[in-house]
């Protein structure tokens, strides 16, 4: 596995077909650093809200309530502010739509400036990924933070694999493939849950 540096990433951005790295839109070439590429905060947000229910049920019990009902959707335009309150989960995405080649995976982390504000980000993208990168924001500090839509909030490091991998294998479907806006957890759609439920019933 090899970390891609600026020249190689640049080549991938210009490459055709299977080897291409897609970043749309790439607003500023300065987003590309020596061994990373800055990504911007997107414009759609799902904000967690308190409800009368004591908990979110991912097991689909008899009085199940959809996970989406625990979140409120809101949108800001480029340059507008979004206030991230302490102890609140906010789902969003990067501004950029990212397409990874089949022979690369990517680590996504917060830029140091945002880590220092108490807003860490840590996720990764599988080879062949398509979509705006999902970001789960949480303010660990004591003060609300006014984030600016379009700010460079996280960075992507690309690694080349020895063997290409297929993100969408034949006959399979991916839950978050091609997403352009944040989506709530699909944990309640995991197939194992029904099996685990049946085990509980037997016991």
């Amino acid at each position: 596995m090899t970390l891609l540096v600026r020249d190689t990433v640049n080549e991938r951005l210009r490459a055709a077909a299977d080897h291409a790295l897609i970043i749309q839109p790439l607003l500023d070439v300065d987003q590309l650093g020596s061994a990373s590429l800055d990504l911007r905060l997107g414009y759609d947000f799902l904000v967690s809200v308190l409800t009368r229910r004591p908990s979110i049920d991912v097991g689909r019990s008899a009085d199940y309530r959809a996970i989406g009902s625990y979140f409120q959707e809101t949108r800001r335009e480029l340059g507008e502010r979004f206030v991230l309150y302490p102890n609140q989960v906010v789902l969003t995405t990067t501004l950029e739509y990212v397409g990874l080649p089949a022979d690369c995976y990517a680590d996504i982390s917060a830029r140091s400036s945002y880590n220092r504000l108490g807003v860490p980000i840590a996720t990764w993208l599988q080879p062949g990924f398509r979509g705006c990168v999902p970001l789960e924001l949480f303010n660990h500090g004591n003060s609300p933070i006014e984030l600016v839509v379009g700010c460079r909030m996280c960075q992507m490091r690309l690694y080349k694999l020895e063997q290409p991998q297929q993100y969408v294998e034949h006959g399979a479907t991916r839950k978050y493939y091609g997403d352009v806006r944040p989506k709530v957890s699909s944990a309640d759609a995991d197939r194992d849950l029904a099996h685990l439920d049946s085990i509980r019933s037997v016991n």
Binding site: Q24, P25, L78, G79, H170, G171, T173, G178, D179
Partner: protein, 260 residues
């Protein structure tokens, strides 16, 4: 964006999401008396004309299913400038059929307006969405609507098209003409990536060509759509079209250095 082709006045368009699919599309002006009353009783002066646009809630994230909005915008432009009303002066219809003729002409104008931005996708969506209908008091029959649009798009001489062009000339408004260009979309969508839009005309063209692409993707199921269920294909292709539109807006604003 399309409205800017027809007026230089400032118009604020508010969006409504209708729970109904039938009748969910409309585009209407807010009565001028509202501004007059707001000024008289509240001292508030509106610097922009208000208009309301509505689309069905279930199409909120499906731009390729919102082609009828161009038709509704055509109604808004027509009524605002009384274009069909003028045609009744230029090409009168005897009572008691005047009101029926006015309704039918308004539909024909909206169809032609939509075709300026959508091409033949305007009529194919009409059939997909509403089916082939006979003439009614309010609407001409679907076949004659399609025939009119086909004549317009193929530059075949047509009295109805000529009638509207004459009225538009009298009103110093732009002529009915093709106002879209088709961007390259297949290579991007086949790669599950948003198409890249380079100009306003391509933005209009994206919706028409995207709708055609979606129909082909669902019908033929070639890669990468061969293993996906139909609703997933609909969702992803619509999302990619929406992202293409947003990317165009973002890059334009970024270049202008403008904050909305």
């Amino acid at each position: 964006m399309a409205l800017a082709d027809w007026t230089s006045d400032s118009v604020i368009v508010t969006t409504a999401l209708s729970p109904d699919l039938d009748g969910g599309f409309y585009f209407r002006a807010v009565p001028a008396q509202f501004s007059v009353l707001a000024q008289a009783y509240l001292g508030i002066q509106f610097r922009s004309e208000l208009a309301q646009i509505s689309l069905p809630l279930i199409y909120r994230h499906k731009p390729l299913y919102n082609l009828p909005l161009y038709h509704e915008l055509g109604h808004f432009v027509d009524i605002r400038h009384n274009i069909s009303g003028l045609t009744l002066l230029l090409n009168p219809v005897s009572p008691p059929y005047t009101n029926i003729a006015l309704s039918h002409r308004r539909e024909h104008f909206a169809d032609l307006f939509c075709a300026c931005y959508m091409g033949d996708a305007s009529t194919s969506f009409l059939v997909d969405f509403a089916g082939v209908q006979p003439a009614s008091v309010t609407h001409p029959d679907t076949s004659s609507r399609i025939a009119l649009v086909n004549d317009f798009l193929s530059n075949t001489a047509n009295q109805v098209v000529n009638m509207f062009q004459a009225a538009l000339t009298q009103l110093n408004l732009p002529r009915l003409t093709q106002r879209f260009s088709v961007p390259t979309i297949a290579e991007h969508l086949n790669n599950v990536c948003p198409p890249i839009i380079g100009a306003d005309a391509e933005l209009h063209g994206l919706l028409a060509s995207g709708y055609s692409y979606l129909q082909r993707a669902v019908a033929h199921r070639t890669p990468p759509w061969d293993t996906m269920p139909e609703d997933r294909i609909e969702s992803i292709v619509n999302d990619l079209a929406e992202k293409a539109i947003r990317n165009y807006m973002i890059t334009t604003r970024w270049a202008q250095g403008a904050v909305p």
